[in-house]
């Protein structure tokens, strides 16, 4: 399969198909997740809650405990804070992506509708 284009200079050949096949082989798949942002947001919320629980449990276990236990509780609390921060970061990142995607689509549609209204108005004026 190798045919000339309308322009005559370009050729769509089996080479392009082979290249396409190579690129398909290299495609990274996400396992069919229908909504990765929703999954990311859920993970963010989950990690945030887990982090907070770790901090509270560490706080309670450190109360009236020996210095050694308090040190362990402090380390655990620090891990809790880190887990919580990762959760918040995941939540912010995925929520923003969802919101911005929605905003962009809305903007494009509104823009298109407005232009069509404008063209219709100009056409109406031209008819008069």
């Amino acid at each position: 399969m190798s045919k000339e284009t309308a322009g005559g200079s370009e050729v769509m050949s089996s080479a392009r198909l082979s290249q396409f096949q190579d690129e398909v082989t290299k495609l990274k798949l996400k396992g069919g997740g229908a909504n990765p942002e929703r999954t990311g947001t859920a993970w963010g919320v989950g990690l945030g809650i887990v982090g907070a629980i770790i901090v509270v449990v560490s706080w309670l276990s450190a109360k009236g405990a020996s210095t050694g236990t308090q040190l362990t509780a402090e380390i655990a609390a620090l891990i809790g804070v880190l887990v919580g921060l990762v959760g918040v970061a995941l939540w912010v990142r995925n929520s923003l992506t969802r919101y911005l995607r929605y905003w962009l689509i809305r903007l494009i549609y509104e823009d298109r509708e407005q232009t069509e209204r404008l063209i219709a108005a100009i056409e109406k004026l031209a008819e008069k």
Partner: protein, 254 residues
């Protein structure tokens, strides 16, 4: 409706090489509403597949699945035999699956050149994009600085196609090219599709009522109620089209 509703009128290719794009028993929809109830579609290299059907049949949703915009809830979406369910839309676009969306998918407030610049995301230089676009659609060269929204409907579709072709796609998915256009403009656009097809691209084009596309297509399918009910040669499908639309095809409806 039970079982597989597809009826093969003509075998497309007895040797059956690996399809460029294949949808097998695809189910998909929006939220909890299922629109596709087991779609089967095979697109062979250098083939033009016309998917016809009335409004609400699921044609655009099929195209959305084939371009990775909607993930199927069941079934397999494969390219060259590799299952790619869950692939990112931008990764598919970079690989060479390109969509010309319904309703003149252009940026109306940008100029023709600015719209074409959007096609450089794949790494193609602007000079190449312009060369390819203007060689195929000389009228766009005359209007390169014009705001895209003020072009005629046919020219806007040409711009949408030019932008798609400038990315050097391997698979082109065209959604309702004829929408809102005069028959003479539609005829001209289909001439362009025929030229593109001669270049060897695999094309899926969906339409509601377009006999013109049957002259360009190698194979056609009729879609009803979220399934491709008939697949065959354009000539046979043209005969079936009216009866299918009017429900006289003998198929049970939901």
């Amino acid at each position: 409706m039970s079982g597989r509703a597809i009826t093969e009128l003509d075998p497309v290719d007895p040797l059956d090489p690996t399809p460029v794009l294949e949808l097998s028993d695809i189910r998909a929809g929006y939220g909890r509403i299922d629109v596709l109830h087991g779609v089967n579609l095979k697109l062979m290299p250098a083939q033009v597949y016309a998917l016809l059907g009335p409004n609400g049949a699921g044609k655009s949703t099929t195209l959305a699945v084939a371009s990775g915009q909607i993930q199927p809830t069941a079934g397999t979406f494969s390219l060259f035999g590799r299952t790619v369910n869950g692939v990112a839309t931008d990764a598919l676009a970079r690989a060479g699956v390109c969509v010309v969306p319904e309703g003149r998918g252009i940026f109306p407030n940008l100029s023709v050149l600015e719209n074409l610049r959007m096609a450089t995301f794949t790494g193609t230089s602007m000079a190449d994009v312009q060369d390819r676009s203007f060689a195929r659609f000389p009228r766009l060269a005359e209007r390169r600085k014009q705001t895209a929204g003020t072009l005629s409907g046919g020219e806007q579709q040409m711009l949408a196609m030019a932008r798609a072709l400038a990315t050097d796609p391997a698979v082109l998915l065209i959604d309702e090219l004829s929408m809102g256009l005069a028959p003479i403009v539609v005829e001209e656009l289909y001439q362009h599709v025929a030229n593109i097809a001669r270049d060897g691209l695999a094309i899926v084009i969906i339409e509601q009522f377009a006999h013109e596309i049957l002259g360009v297509a190698d194979v056609a399918g009729i879609m009803l109620h979220g399934r491709i009910q008939r697949v065959g040669s354009p000539a046979k499908i043209a005969e079936e089209l009216v009866s299918a639309y009017l429900g006289a095809d003998g198929h049970e409806t939901p």
